[in-house]
Symmetry: C2
Subunit: 337 residues, 2 copies
Amino acid sequence: MRPRLADVAARAGVSIKTVSNVINDFPHISTQTREKVTAAIEELGYRPNLSARNLAKGRTGVIVLGVPRLDMPYFASLAMQLITAAEAASWWVQIRQTRGERAAELELLAETRQSRIDGMVLSPLRLRESDLAERSGLPLVMLGERRFAAVDHVGIDNAAAAASAVQHLLETGRRRIAVVGGPGRTDRRVVGARATLRAHGLDLPAALHLPVRGVTGRHGEEAMKAFLGSGHPMPEAVFCVTDWLAMGVIRALRLHGFAVPDDVAVMGFDDIPYDLAALPTLSTIAPDREEIARLAVASLRRQEGATAPEVQHTVVGHRLVPRESTAATGPVPTTRR
Amino acid sequence: MRPRLADVAARAGVSIKTVSNVINDFPHISTQTREKVTAAIEELGYRPNLSARNLAKGRTGVIVLGVPRLDMPYFASLAMQLITAAEAASWWVQIRQTRGERAAELELLAETRQSRIDGMVLSPLRLRESDLAERSGLPLVMLGERRFAAVDHVGIDNAAAAASAVQHLLETGRRRIAVVGGPGRTDRRVVGARATLRAHGLDLPAALHLPVRGVTGRHGEEAMKAFLGSGHPMPEAVFCVTDWLAMGVIRALRLHGFAVPDDVAVMGFDDIPYDLAALPTLSTIAPDREEIARLAVASLRRQEGATAPEVQHTVVGHRLVPRESTAATGPVPTTRR
DNA sequence: CGCAGGGTTTACAGCGCTAGAAATCTGCTC
DNA sequence: GAGCAGATTTCTAGCGCTGTAAACCCTGCG
């Protein structure tokens, strides 16, 4: 049988509660006692029983992660990170998919009221500020582009990240730059891109802003195809607000005979964990996902403790990852035949 | 406060244990009582507290999934499926990475003995039959190519799947076929491919069998580069034992000026959830991962119940997914310039 | 030298559920 | 109509842990 608190207590010659106190880092424990207990724990290889702990503490040990879709590598990867981060807080993560539908997102928000979970991490796409009335006091933290005034948020500075992406394109000598993404100017990434162009005395003409109805490869391919059919002069580079879009854009470009990056450079965003055997490998912006996951869990714990925790919006870092798709010279030699 | 068993009991006018009996499907419950209880559960929206249940039942509610690496999309996707399947059995999945190292795999096997988990799903790469002595009575099920006599196994028929892949290449008119994968003939996929070639009066000459030390894009790229440098006449098609290898192979081919599938068709294996915006999209074999996950959990539950369960090796289905990389005519038009 | 006052430790009552054993209720036989 | 077997339900004791409150033990001061 695996050792229990009582076994540790007996071995250390103290009471059960003292062992519990040591484990939970309660104040007022003499160094001597602490050492005795720690030694006993070590010798017995004791590990607390989470079921019992959660039961006694009245928590369920479960948090929910709400994402649009799990087969989007960005969210799959985020989920993995969150699972790891949550484990440290003895939480396990129940993953729910919203398919980006408003109804599903509202439903999740409503579930906040049944006390079946200890907290929720939500990556909303269609939620509005006013929807948050649905919310109960349950610990909640939002991820993604949108920030809500009344709820904790963890994310990167999308505008700044997009700016550095465009900056990179400019630095590699491209001036005429198209932007793929966002059906509105609410899109921080588009905003950041546009601002950077403007700061360099350039513009984002309507023809070079390719709106999309989604962010997958298919959407990117369609948007670029539409552009290619429009007869507008080609851009020297394309900034896509997601890697998926970029993959589709590259496909469309190549199907039309354009070489990437030789004819057109393409930049993505997200650093989805695709195989680097892609051709060309994709230059992108890598949000610090591990940090996002860690801080999301930290936010939940903070809220769990306090009765009326103050709202915190946290900005985590991102990295520019230049790869082949924006290289000055492409890796693909002239084709035979 | 969320409803407890006692609340349901009060509402239905029966004892707590009766409600518990209904929930756990115990025999000897009158239809009338069952209906009363079910109604009460419904009205109150009762859901059992898993912590309490697990505590009382003496299980931990945790199973371990041991995979080589989680950033391999195949395993990420498998993990997701397993998490879903395990949820139905009130288990949550703790994911452990072995990096394909024998030591790490043995360590996991050893953990089987501390009763900290209810079961283990293992996808071993380097384990030997004899290592299983390490194993305790804990429910264990293996995934992957290797079958062990003494342990439950769930997987596809790799040889048959590889056979159908090669068959597909033959049917699209390719005769000279190379195989990338396996540093030994233990590899069922290589065996299946070779057998199919032989059955068609063809051979797998040593020059066309490209062994690899791993199964990622990098390994595929290196193997194909080495071949291209060898001066051997080109094959018309390449069958790779994983999609990742295939991505690398395609990259190497294209960097050398070969078009896929026009000059060389490439076939993968696994159907990793890559973006279909790849160019060309990858023809592959898709194992029924959902079924694998479901059956793995079922195996664990079966073993949990019995004291000396008989060993079951289960074969699940796979599908041939033809895409662009093996099409008769390629999607890439002649390049401009 | 006694006692206040703090730091430390212990006792004990649950958290919500399940597993026996015990109690009760049927319907049936004689 | 009593007696009995089997079906059905209730009683009771934990599962291993934490929170509260009370008990303990030491200083240091008067």
